[in-house]
Symmetry: C2
Subunit: 220 residues, 2 copies
């Protein structure tokens, strides 16, 4: 019984990581499609989201099944409960990838507004936060999780910078407005990816320490 | 033991509803502050968010405690697991209230751009979706939950309308750009409130029917 439980828990963890990889890839590909002006790649991100959504439902069912069949306690229970929450964040990261891909398809109908620098940087930061949060989950590393939470401010700052720069474009030339808004919204989607990574990192910290840093680390 | 469990589960449900009421109120007050140009009310929404955040942590702990102490099965287990997810959505609804309040404070530094019609309507719709989703949770009413999911499209349509109208303002007069973007973002915050209500309704449907409508009802 014990051995079955451990095997299933390991499997759960692996599926969660696979889903995390897919969600992170969705964001990465969507931003690559934006930068390379590659419509087919954006389209692929939109189509591949169904697989992420299916994984969410499957992993949730697996969590409930594990709890019902083995009635785990203490840390095992917390691990499963946290997995149940983390898949939710991962699914929404995938949705952000889709949102970025949709905005990208919109932008490809018009000429490039400006060379993109801050947005790809934001994407790299947000993707790395997500990777590290999941890495913290696997390694049960509270310090790594805490460090992810702190990096959220860097992404917010970049997002403000993106916003201010695009506001300047719009004010100088009204023809740029629709495109600038698409880019502002892409900035916000990336900010939300970083927020989801932060949520996951907070959950990991709680899982490891048995205490919450939620609503405490904010702004640190 | 059985009786204690039922009493604690009832208490959990009541706290979840109380938190739902607070989150919904945060959104309502933030939009009222926007419409009435009432800075102190917007400030109150921002300050009151701490109480919502504390409730989230408390209710999560209560869920884990119930699972650990009573090892509930079947529907009871699903109820607790869903509560664990729902508080997460409610906390984020509260955050949307804060976001709207912050944009409102920003907007109050400048003259009114236009009389607000669609945004207050969106707020009413999104708040009602949230109430009905939580009502569906209490009454275990799958049909009510399904109906909430369908209404998400109405909010999306209004949001598109808000966006198009404001795009017109910006194009005609660049002086309106910063204010129009604030209003576009407020529209998106309300759209996200409706998304959270939809998430909750999907969870309620699953809880009652033992099957998921997630990623299926979308767009129905």
């Amino acid at each position: 019984m014990e051995r079955h439980f451990d095997a299933e828990l390991t499997q759960l963890r692996e599926r969660l990581l696979a889903m995390g990889g897919m969600a992170e890839q969705a964001v990465g590909k969507a931003v690559k499609a934006l930068v390379d002006r590659h419509a087919a790649l954006a389209q692929a991100v939109i189509e591949e989201d169904a697989a992420i959504n299916r994984l969410e439902v499957d992993i949730e069912d697996a969590c409930l099944g594990l709890m019902a069949r083995y009635q785990p306690e203490a840390r095992d229970l917390r691990t499963i409960a946290m997995s149940f929450k983390i898949v939710n964040d991962l699914e929404r990261v995938g949705d952000q990838g889709v949102n970025i891909a949709e905005r990208t398809l919109d932008l490809l109908n018009e000429p490039l507004l400006k060379p993109l620098i801050d947005i790809p940087t934001m994407a790299v930061l947000a993707q790395q936060m997500l990777k590290d949060a999941l890495d913290g989950f696997v390694r049960q590393d509270a310090e790594l999780a805490r460090a992810v939470c702190r990096r959220d401010d860097d992404v917010d700052r970049l997002n403000d910078q993106v916003y201010q720069e695009l506001l300047g474009y719009m004010t100088r030339d009204p023809h740029t407005i629709a495109r600038a808004i698409d880019l502002i919204l892409i900035g916000r989607h990336l900010e939300r990816v970083a927020d989801h990574a932060t949520n996951i990192a907070e959950d990991v910290y709680y899982l490891v320490k048995g205490a919450t840093i939620k609503h405490r680390l904010t702004g640190v």
